[in-house]
């Protein structure tokens, strides 16, 4: 009983702090007064609701804390998750392949699937840099932008098609990865993070301001959609279209389903390459670099090549994804490549549990799929996104899947638990 009183007191103090914090923002409102000056309006009811909510939430949290101390440790939960992971991955794969063909998914759902899959691919690409090589990259969106603009410009000025541009976009993005990676080879940790962020911003600013080439803030229109062996997905159903060739009625869902399978294939390619590389010397070098840069260097690993290949390969997949983004939207502008995109992709990688391929998929579904379903709450969407990021990190700092399975081991491979995994400072 005494404990409850203590909890209540704590909750009330938190309520007082909340009152002060929310006071000027929820309790007061800036409005337009007479002759262009500002005026203040009050809305006490909103402030009261917010403060009461905080007090109640705090009280429940404390109650839950007292209750939780008697429960089994979280390690068991992690073990269960790790075991079920074996079945979750193939199940998800089968679901992903079958999804557009299932009757109860509307075209909008498939479109959402395309969006999620794009972020899965970006997440897997960034996972190579952040999750495997341990290089904190806050400017990954730069390579996404390079891929998207490469395709948009090549098709705009030279009339190249999606399939011709796709490899070019990857190569160009990889070159940019090396080009931007070279100057930052000596930097570590947060210095690296801020310089990659700066590079991301530089690329976006140059795209915005180089109006004669890129159209600046207006972006580039009429980017061609991908074709299926030369068949287009035009709605008129004339000769040379998909619907004409296969004798079916033209329907927008055909194009979206086609896009879905393209991005699925690209994402699976990313995953396959990553999984293969992890088992090869290069992938091992990346993981060694992540764990301890100094030990890595003393064992004779070429740090320069290891870092540059991580940047280049990660950037290449970002470029592929960018190329796909351009063809899917048909229109791109610098607004699509802001820092918030980099932050979202990084959040997906970290929430998934850096280094875990399955974790990225789960995190992408949670971070992209759930907000997209909240369209009705348009104004509050990003607010909820922010709260969710903080909340998930506080609850599961290591992400959804925090265990690691070594790629090589003597005898039976043992899963390494979260508490044993420690990153170097690289």
């Amino acid at each position: 009983m005494n404990h409850l009183a203590e909890n209540a007191k704590d909750s009330l103090i938190v309520g007082g702090v909340a009152f002060l914090l929310f006071g000027p923002f929820l309790g007061l409102e800036l409005t337009d007064g007479q002759n262009g000056s500002l005026a203040i309006a009050t809305r006490p009811e909103l402030l009261a609701i917010a403060v009461v909510l905080v007090v109640v939430a705090r009280f429940l949290l404390l109650l839950w804390h007292d209750h939780r101390s008697t429960r089994a440790p979280a390690a068991k939960l992690a073990a269960v998750m790790a075991k079920s992971g074996k079945f979750v991955a193939p199940a998800l794969l089968i679901f992903a392949i079958a999804m557009p063909l299932l009757p109860f998914f509307a075209t909008a759902d498939i479109d959402l699937g395309v969006l999620i899959m794009t972020y899965v691919m970006l997440g897997w690409g960034l996972n190579i840099v952040v999750g495997l090589a341990g290089l904190l990259d806050l400017g990954y969106v730069a390579f996404y932008a390079v891929g998207a603009y490469s395709f948009a410009l090549l098709s705009h000025y030279y009339g190249l098609t999606f399939w011709e541009c796709l490899p070019l976009c990857g190569i160009l993005a990889a070159c940019w990865g090396i080009f931007l990676g070279f100057p930052v080879l000596r930097l570590r940790g947060d210095y690296l993070a801020i310089v990659t962020l700066a590079f991301g911003e530089i690329i976006r600013l140059v795209i915005t301001n180089w109006v004669s080439l890129t159209g600046g803030p207006n972006g580039i229109y009429d980017i061609p959609h991908p074709t299926l062996f030369g068949l287009t997905f035009d709605m008129d159903g004339g000769p040379g279209t998909f619907s004409d060739f296969f004798n079916v009625d033209p329907d927008p869902s055909q194009r979206i389903t086609y896009l879905y399978y393209i991005i699925l294939a690209l994402a699976l390619l990313t995953n396959w390459v990553t999984l293969r590389l992890r088992k090869q010397p290069l992938g091992r070098a990346w993981e060694a670099l992540r764990e301890d840069e100094i030990a890595c260097r003393s064992l004779g690993i070429n740090l320069r090549n290891t870092k540059l290949t991580a940047f280049a390969i990660g950037a290449m997949f970002g470029g592929f994804a960018g190329c796909f983004f351009a063809t899917r939207e048909g229109f791109i502008s610098p607004d699509s490549f802001t820092f918030i995109e980099s932050a979202t992709v990084l959040a997906i990688v970290v929430l998934g549990g850096a280094g875990s391929q399955l974790g990225v998929v789960l995190a992408a579904i949670v971070m992209i799929g759930v907000p997209a379903k909240l369209q009705d709450l348009q104004v509050y969407r990003m607010l909820i996104f922010g709260i969710a990021l903080v909340f998930i990190m506080v609850v599961r700092p290591r992400g959804f899947i925090s265990t690691r399975r070594p790629t090589v081991s003597l005898g039976k491979a043992k899963i390494i638990g979260a508490e044993m995994v420690s990153e170097g400072r690289g």
């Binding site: 702090v17 002060l20 914090l21 000027p24 923002f25 929820l26 007061l28 409102e29 800036l30 000056s37 500002l38 005026a39 203040i40 952040v130 904190l136 100057p183 930052v184 000596r186 930097l187 570590r188 947060d190 210095y191 993070a193 801020i194 310089v195 962020l197 700066a198 590079f199 911003e201 530089i202 600013l205 140059v206 915005t208 301001n209 100094i294 030990a295 820092f339 918030i340 932050a343 990084l346 959040a347 970290v350 929430l351 850096a354 104004v379 509050y380 990003m382 607010l383 996104f385 922010g386 709260i387 969710a388 990021l389 903080v390 990190m393 506080v394 700092p397 290591r398 990153e423 400072r425």
Partner: protein, 302 residues
């Protein structure tokens, strides 16, 4: 010559604001080794509190009193914001996976931006020039170099704030505790320093400095919206890194440099590419001095 002098005056004023924000970044980085991404948004919150206070006080108090009250109120409230942010989003993650606090901070930044956007609207809010006029430094063939009272006030307020801050860090027991925790948190704790409380105070002080910068920004430009925190935050962080992250004089120096680069680039090259110039110089400096201008070289023990 006159033109250069004008850019110098503008650059120093801008640099002072960046420097104030940068101090908060560098303090937090020094003490717990994380990038406090939400710091720029605390600056934005400070600007908004200042705006609300100034609007509420219009006609009630005289102008200097109004500004002073706005400054103090904003600093106090932002201190509380800094304290709460640390408690909610960073403290549970201390000693955890390196990237977790970073993502939490990015989430906090998105949260604060949208909190202000939904509660106060997405529109830009403007106030009329609070202190008009200034002194003429130079008159060259009709080109008048103005050092406005506003710019002078910003420089003075910044210097006073930095002086108080320097006093706290170098002379008080709290400052000693902060420096001790920065050097070695475990050892400081063994010697009886309450590290948690010291870290909380660090956030409070850093956020209060950002709030002062926010009010200055509001008075200088007269226009704010919920998004100002991002750009100012990135620039200030760039300033902190340029000066050598973890170094307090470095943060102010970095801020001034960034302000000057921005002013001179806008004056002599293209305004559109001023941010590109700032980021490029950051990259170039770090290429040759990987720990910034005044940063310490980490000795890595194996």
């Amino acid at each position: 010559m006159a033109y250069a002098l004008q850019q110098l005056v503008n650059g120093i004023t801008l640099g002072m604001i960046y420097g104030l924000i940068a101090v908060g970044y560098t303090m937090v980085y020094g003490i717990i080794g994380m990038i406090n991404f939400a710091h720029g948004d605390v600056f934005m919150i400070g600007a908004f509190v200042g705006l609300i206070a100034l609007t509420a006080l219009t006609g009630v108090a005289s102008l200097p009193v109004g500004i002073l009250v706005a400054l103090l109120l904003s600093a106090a409230l932002c201190g509380l914001y800094g304290f709460s942010i640390e408690r909610v989003a960073y403290r549970p993650l201390r000693g955890s996976f390196r990237l977790a606090p970073l993502i939490s901070a990015i989430g906090m930044s998105i949260l604060l931006e949208n909190y202000v956007q939904t509660s106060q609207g997405a529109l830009e809010r403007a106030i009329p020039a609070v202190i008009p006029g200034g002194i003429t430094l130079m008159d060259e063939n009709g080109f008048v170099v103005q050092w406005s009272w506003m710019q002078m006030a910003i420089v003075i307020v910044t210097l006073v704030t930095l002086a108080i801050f320097t006093y706290i860090v170098t002379k008080t027991p709290l400052g000693r505790a902060m420096r001790a925790v920065e050097q070695d948190a475990k050892m400081a704790a063994l010697l009886g320093i309450d590290t948690n409380r010291t870290i909380s105070y660090t956030f409070v002080i850093g956020s209060a400095l950002a709030a002062v910068a926010g009010v200055m920004f509001l008075l200088y430009y007269g226009v704010i919206d919920f998004y100002i925190g991002f750009n100012a935050g990135i620039k200030a962080f760039t300033a902190a890194v340029l000066g050598g992250i973890g170094s307090l004089p470095g943060a102010v120096l970095g801020g001034l440099l960034i302000g000057l680069i921005e002013a001179f680039w806008s004056g002599y090259a293209t305004v559109a590419y001023k941010d590109v110039a700032v980021y490029s110089i950051l990259a170039i400096v770090l290429m040759f001095m990987p720990t910034g201008l005044l940063g310490r070289h980490d000795i890595e023990k194996v």
